[in-house]
């Protein structure tokens, strides 16, 4: 999914958080979003995702303002994701369930992600009892299960050690190649941005 931001102005308590004249995220690319703390990176992701609506300007998705059909194709994983108080399996299954995908197909998809993300051993465990790294993996698997065409990742690998972060990057690369989706990836890690992203955008 292609995203174009035009004349975006976001204020909070009279203070300007974001002021973007024109920004373009091409379809099928992995874009690294870098910037200092408080630069507005997470706010920008929330605006693009559609959960933050209080702003001036325009965001176009494939040339159109946000519609319900776009919302179904946007996925986001925040730095501290909220996992539902149910099993790991049920968490990953949730987006498929609300899309009314039949049970057999749901199980197939969820089992696939559990295998790919190395989560099979904990599939029956309550998701709110997982460690930070495991929780990130489950949140990512849940977001990917919805087959998004635009994936927004807010420092998803920040709390995970290097090795696990690389494994997640590999998963994301493979998903990106399969689906041809656009990934916007917020990170503080320049090395990771160089390694993982096609383009980088610095927000001041």
């Amino acid at each position: 999914m292609e995203v174009r931001i035009q004349k975006l102005l976001k204020k909070y308590n009279q203070k300007t958080i974001l002021d973007i004249l024109d920004m373009h995220f091409k379809e099928g690319t992995i874009i690294g979003l870098l910037g200092d703390n408080g630069a507005g990176k997470s706010t920008l992701l929330k605006i693009i995702s559609g959960i933050e609506k209080d702003y001036e300007g325009q965001i176009l998705y494939n040339g159109y303002p946000l519609k319900d059909c776009h919302k179904q194709r946007i996925g986001m994983v925040s730095q501290k994701p909220y996992l539902f108080k149910r099993s790991v399996f049920e968490n990953i299954e949730y987006p498929l369930k609300i899309r009314k995908i039949e049970k057999k197909k749901r199980k197939e998809i969820v089992d696939g992600y559990l295998r790919e993300m190395n989560l099979e051993a904990i599939k029956g465990q309550r998701a709110d009892t997982l460690s930070g790294g495991e929780a990130q993996k489950v949140a990512l698997a849940r977001a990917l299960a919805a087959a998004p065409k635009l994936l927004l990742l807010d420092e998803t690998t920040a709390n995970i050690h290097e090795e696990a972060a690389c494994a997640i990057e590999t998963q994301l690369k493979s998903y990106h190649e399969q689906m041809g989706c656009t990934i916007i990836f917020v990170t503080h890690n320049l090395t990771q941005a160089e390694r993982f992203c096609d383009e980088c955008v610095w927000i001041k």
Partner: protein, 245 residues
């Protein structure tokens, strides 16, 4: 004077006797399946449970909506809500009495001094409490669940279902709080029910009546039964909540 004082200290403590005989009587009443007692217990449970269920049907969806919605004057609404949580039950009873009395706006329904009037009074009593508790829970933690649901593609209805599922234990505790407030309340049901034997007499109004008649042992017996019911219902609910965790 000294002798009187001495003889007084030698006498057994009457209140302890009342308590002991009351507890023994409570046991006897329960075991003997006293029909009047069981009628009162069933009526009390029916009135309080009906009031809590009716109130919850309105309070849970509305409380969720109120907690998630951003609007002007939300702070004022929340203050009003919290203040109304402590409305005295006699005031509610009085207002309902005036509304349901023959000359009142709903007097034609002929509900005054019936169990229905008691259900209405307790529903009004419990509603601010359930609404305030639900609103507070959702205001504190609801947005995160809402955002996650929306990001995963849920529509508004699916988000509400998701929130109810995520906070089901909190809601169950709110229900229990509401039930405890309703079953232990005496002022409103006394005013709108009239404490009529066989029709509107419930446990709390019976205790008040026995106390005014000086029948302390029977009053204590009913009090013990009331406590037992509260303990039993709470234990069942909390055990269920544990299995949900």
């Amino acid at each position: 004077m000294r002798m009187e004082g001495h003889s007084l200290t030698q006498q057994p403590r009457p209140m302890m006797n009342e308590l002991t005989s009351g507890l023994i009587k409570a046991l006897k009443l329960i075991i003997s399946l006293d029909p009047e007692l069981y009628q009162i217990i069933i009526r009390s449970l029916f009135v309080s449970l009906s009031a809590v269920i009716i109130s919850a049907l309105f309070c849970f969806p509305f409380g969720i909506w109120l907690g998630l919605k951003k609007f002007k004057g939300k702070q004022f609404v929340s203050r009003l809500l919290y203040a109304s949580m402590s409305t005295p039950s006699v005031v509610i009873g009085l207002v309902i009495l005036l509304i349901l009395s023959r000359k009142g706006p709903l007097g034609f329904l002929g509900l005054l001094y019936t169990p229905a009037a008691m259900v209405i009074a307790q529903t009004v009593l419990v509603t601010p409490l359930l609404l305030g508790l639900t609103y507070n829970t959702i205001k504190q933690r609801g947005h995160q669940v809402q955002n996650e649901g929306l990001l995963l593609g849920a529509d508004s209805f699916q988000v509400i279902i998701l929130i109810i599922r995520e906070f089901k234990i909190d809601f169950l505790v709110h229900l229990m709080t509401g039930f405890s407030r309703a079953i232990s309340e005496v002022g409103a049901v006394m005013i709108v029910g009239g404490n009529i034997k066989g029709t509107t007499r419930v446990m709390t109004t019976s205790i008040a009546l026995m106390n005014s008649m000086g029948e302390y042992d029977r009053a204590i017996a009913l009090g013990a039964v009331l406590l037992l019911i509260s303990l039993l219902v709470n234990s069942i609910v909390y055990r269920e909540a544990e299995t949900w965790k």
